[in-house]
């Protein structure tokens, strides 16, 4: 019987959590289009998280 990857579940959960946090931060910025401070915060928060994902250090995420 074909076995799933041992890290499969954890990677999926981690990325799903990251995506949920990102979606919430971006939604916050998008729902206050005239609030520059809030938009800046949302952009900065998303950038910080996205940079970590783009670095792709999967082993660190799953430690």
């Amino acid at each position: 019987m074909r076995q799933p990857l041992p890290t499969n579940e954890r990677l999926d959960e981690h990325l799903l959590e990251v995506v949920c946090v990102l979606r919430a931060a971006i939604k916050q910025g998008l729902s206050h289009p005239n609030d520059t401070e809030m938009a800046n915060r949302a952009i900065a928060d998303s950038k910080e998280i996205l940079d970590v994902i783009m670095a792709g250090n999967v082993n660190e995420w799953l430690d």
Binding site: R2, P4, V19, L30, A42, S46, L50, I53, M54, G56
Partner: protein, 238 residues
């Protein structure tokens, strides 16, 4: 033609060719999903013209990460690790269009308009495909891709309305991405593409999908006052 529907529990019974093709197509799909953000995020998130555009760049990247997650899950459930594509350098991407870096807003807009549209075509290949776990993740992914295409198209039109100099820059971006988009469909008469179709993993021959794309995109380009680039100039896969 293979017409059965397959679940992960059935894979051990399947011909090794089926498993190899499935592994390959999932790896390439995962690479394409994460390849987009790797191409534009670094330069375009800080440089998008408005706060709203910056937020939409971040949202698009987030959605692509989620698409990667879904494809990686399907691959991982059959024991295939595609996580290496997360940190793979752009030069090693499976598809040429994802090698390099997007550094201008015109390129970013046209990338959404033309290349995300190819992405939609690639995903449509899996509609009603023989591997059910892959089929199940498609609807949400395609819906979000449609949003990326529309955003790219709207931004392209917005740029075109800003005068002749801007129009020339957009046309240059179209000239660059159009041939890359056509190349993304792969070689005409490809034997591998025929085997994908035999196993019910894809629906169309490469040349048919490319022709469908041309028939969709060319009238749009003309309708917004852009020239259709030479479809052979600079092509790598005919």
């Amino acid at each position: 033609m293979f017409t059965d529907k397959i679940e992960v529990k059935d894979l051990d019974k399947m011909d090794p060719e089926y498993r190899d093709l499935l592994r390959r197509v999932l790896t390439i799909q995962a690479d394409c999903e994460i390849g987009g953000p790797h191409l534009y995020l670094e330069r375009m998130l800080p440089a998008a013209p408005t706060k709203l555009d910056q937020l939409i760049v971040a949202r698009t990247a987030t959605e692509e990460i989620d698409h990667f997650r879904k494809v990686a899950r399907v691959a991982g459930d059959m024991g295939v690790d595609v996580s290496f594509v997360l940190s793979q350098s752009n030069e090693k991407r499976f598809v040429d269009a994802f090698r390099g870096l997007i550094t201008t807003w015109e390129d970013h807009a046209v990338f959404g308009f033309l290349i995300d549209r190819v992405g939609r075509y690639q995903l449509e290949e899996f509609y009603d495909c023989s591997y059910l776990p892959l089929q199940r993740i498609l609807p949400d992914i395609v819906t979000e891709e449609l949003g990326h295409i529309e955003y790219g198209y709207n931004k392209t039109r917005e740029l075109l309305s800003k005068g002749d100099e801007q129009k020339e820059r957009v046309q240059n971006a179209i000239d660059y991405w159009y041939v890359r988009a056509l190349d993304m469909f792969g070689r005409s008469g490809s034997r591998r593409a025929e085997r994908y179709r035999y196993w019910g993993l894809k629906r169309r021959a490469n040349e048919q999908a490319r022709m469908d794309y041309v028939n969709e995109v060319n009238p749009i380009l003309e309708s917004i006052g852009l020239k259709i680039p030479d479809p052979f100039k600079g092509r790598r896969y005919m």
